[in-house]
Symmetry: C2
Subunit: 97 residues, 2 copies
C-alpha cells in the first residue's frame, strides 16, 4: 500500500495551491500527512464523519449510487475528501485567484 | 424574498447539466423546487444534515472561518449545497462530459 500512498501524495501534491494532504485509514487514523499533527487529527476525525454522512445520504437517495468525492468550500480554504477502498484522502487547498 | 428566489433559480438554471434546483428554508422545509416532490423532501432533509455537519466541522477547525459551499460527487450526479442567510440552495447536476 505504501507505493500507492506515495503515488497519491505525488498526484495531489501537483494540484494548484495545495496546503496539505492527509491519508486516513478505515479506522479514521491518519497514516500519512504533510500537515501539522494536531490539525491532521482534527481534519481526519471531522472528515470521517462528513464522509460517512455523505455516503449514507447518497445511498439513501439511490441505493445503487456511490459517493466518489466531497468538497467543502470555506472562506479560507477548500477541503476535498476522496474515499478509496481501504482509506480516504483529504486535500486542503488555498483558494485560487 | 420571492424575487431573490426567482433570481437564484434563473442563475443556477444556467449552470451546465442542471437536473434540479431546490430552495430550502431555515427550518429545512423546501420552499421552491424544480424536482419531483418526494425527491425534493429527501434531498432537503439530507442536505440539511450535511450542511450542519460541514458548518460545524469548518468552525471547529477555525472559529473565524465559514462554510460557503459543499459539493458531493457521486457516480450518477453532482450535488452542490450553498448556504445563504435564511435558506440554502441545492443544485443537482448530471456529470459533464
Amino acid at each position: 500500500m505504501s507505493a500507492e500512498i506515495e503515488e497519491i501524495l505525488k498526484r495531489y501534491g501537483n494540484y494548484p495551491n495545495v496546503a496539505g494532504i492527509i491519508i486516513v485509514d478505515a479506522f479514521a487514523i491518519p497514516i500519512k500527512t504533510t500537515m501539522e499533527y494536531t490539525l491532521t487529527v482534527h481534519y481526519a476525525a471531522l472528515a470521517n464523519i462528513l464522509l460517512m454522512k455523505g455516503s449514507k445520504m447518497t445511498q439513501n437517495l439511490d441505493a445503487s449510487n456511490e459517493l466518489t468525492a466531497l468538497r467543502l468550500r470555506t472562506l479560507n480554504h477548500e477541503v476535498m475528501i476522496v474515499p478509496e477502498e481501504n482509506f480516504f484522502i483529504i486535500v486542503v487547498q488555498k483558494p485560487g485567484q
